[in-house]
């Protein structure tokens, strides 16, 4: 797709918007293997490469494992590196995800969320990126095409931030966001360049004078120190994210935070949900507010690192909270967002009731009526102080 206008509104799918953001970033290297529903990102981007619109070295590889391996090699050499994938592709990268973060390489990956097999399914849920939540990558989630586009730039800045130097993943909902056309505002190329700046790696694999060794063996006398170093970088990523989002808002007028709240201030019952389902939930919030019901929403944007103090602060006025998970931890105790939000709220006094509903797996629709039902159940728990069912599947 040829995109000429960079001012005003342009109709783009989530995938095209991410690919266009990559074109504007013009990374040194992109190693990727296409997979539904993120295929179009790589397809569009390879078009930009073929047309000479970027100077990126595009490495076409035989698998996602190889894609991430090539990304790591290039990043170790000091390159700015980007890639995109989904579902099984991310799963095949698993081993390498930990190596990218352990080696402190600020690779940026767009993950178009799709369910994991088996059974096979190509539609949206978050089991792919949730499975990678402990791999040491910064994770940003996006509700809309505009936000996915904007997040790509912010991810580059956060990942390469001198206090961070960790890889970052931008997540958007498969098909729902990746394939829906939305009118979005594009940023001018020059503004992009000014915002992201240039990247200078601390060490390079091509430095034959110093001859550094990457991927060295560490024994029990040093391994834990490197892990602590990595963990501290992840802790600092929150501050870096706040700084980058503020700068983004100042430059481009679109304000982002660690999470988004919607009519949460005086809410008694709240839903916590990631990505596109927040849009549906907001419609339900408005409908219930019209009936005088005090409901609101919190949508985490930065999930890794998990800003637990801030989330607890925003939810402290609520009496009941339902966390919606588009992934099941298969621990017989709910989904991953639930576990973390509930844990974040443990120190609140009074402590709100917290429930979990698993919804929308494998692309099952989540409708306004589903959100209304969840809210009504939460309002009941807020009133009685009792939770009838802690964890259950909805949208069945």
């Amino acid at each position: 797709m040829a995109i000429t206008a960079t001012k005003g509104q342009t109709g783009l799918t989530g995938n095209s918007a991410v690919a266009y953001a990559m074109k504007q970033i013009n990374p040194d290297v992109c190693a990727a293997y296409p997979i539904t529903p993120s295929t179009q990102i790589v397809e569009d981007f390879s078009g930009y490469v073929a047309d000479g619109e970027v100077t990126t070295e595009l490495i076409t590889v035989e698998s996602e494992h190889s894609a991430m391996s090539a990304c790591i090699g290039a990043a170790a050499a000091g390159a700015r590196v980007m890639t995109a994938t989904s579902s099984q592709g991310l799963a095949l990268m698993w081993e390498m995800l930990y190596i990218a973060s352990g080696m402190r390489l600020p690779i940026v990956l767009a993950n178009v969320n799709r369910a994991l097999s088996s059974p096979i399914n190509i539609h949206c849920d978050h089991s792919d990126s949730m499975g990678a939540r402990d791999s040491g990558w910064v994770q940003l989630y996006s509700e809309t095409v505009q936000e996915a586009y904007d997040n790509v730039f912010m991810a580059v800045r956060i990942a390469e931030h001198k206090d961070v130097l960790l890889p970052a993943m931008v997540c958007l909902d498969g098909f729902i966001t990746s394939h829906a056309i939305e009118n979005i505002s594009l940023i001018e190329d020059q503004e992009v360049r000014q915002f992201i700046g240039s990247y200078n790696a601390k060490a390079s694999l091509l430095d034959t004078d110093k001859a550094p060794t990457f991927g060295a063996m560490t024994l029990p006398d040093t391994y834990i120190e490197f892990k602590r170093q990595q963990s501290e970088a992840m802790t600092r990523a929150k501050g870096a994210a706040i700084e980058v989002m503020k700068d983004f808002g100042k430059r481009f007028g679109r304000e982002y935070g660690l999470f988004e709240t919607y009519r949460l201030e005086d809410a008694e019952a709240a839903i916590v949900v990631l990505n596109s389902a927040a849009g549906t939930t907001k419609v339900a919030v408005d409908a219930l507010r019209k009936e005088g019901k005090k409901v609101g929403l919190l949508r985490p944007r930065l999930f890794r690192p998990f800003p637990w103090q801030e989330i607890a602060g925003a939810l402290k006025g609520c009496k009941a909270i339902t966390v919606l998970d588009r992934a099941d931890s298969m621990n017989a105790f709910g989904g991953p967002v639930f576990s973390e939000v509930r844990s974040a709220l443990y120190d609140l006094d009074p402590r709100p009731r917290v429930m979990n509903r698993i919804y929308g797996l494998g692309g099952r629709d989540y409708k306004v009526k589903d959100a209304v039902e969840v809210f009504n159940e939460a309002l009941k728990a807020a009133e009685t102080g009792r939770v009838e069912t802690l964890v259950k599947y909805i949208t069945l």
Partner: protein, 77 residues
């Protein structure tokens, strides 16, 4: 063709002090390969005992830059 005499005057890119077993057969091969390469060398090797034994932090036997990759990045037949 270079003689052993000539080669012995080149910089040794693989140092002693690594932790491979006494009499290990791999280092002589590596040393020869590194000598055969003309110009700047960067190595990349998939994890096995060669890498494990020669890159025990903070000691590396390699005098050229190198990257030890996970085993799965090794080409398969």
């Amino acid at each position: 063709m270079a003689t052993l005499k000539d080669l012995s005057k080149q910089q040794e890119l693989f140092s002693g002090g690594h932790r491979l077993c006494a009499g290990c057969g791999i280092p002589p091969i590596v040393r020869l390969v590194l000598r055969a390469a003309n110009g700047p060398v960067v190595t990349t090797t998939a994890t096995e005992y060669l890498e494990v034994g020669t890159t025990i932090y903070p000691y590396t036997a390699w005098r050229c830059p190198g990257y030890t990759r996970p085993s799965r990045t090794r080409p398969r037949p």
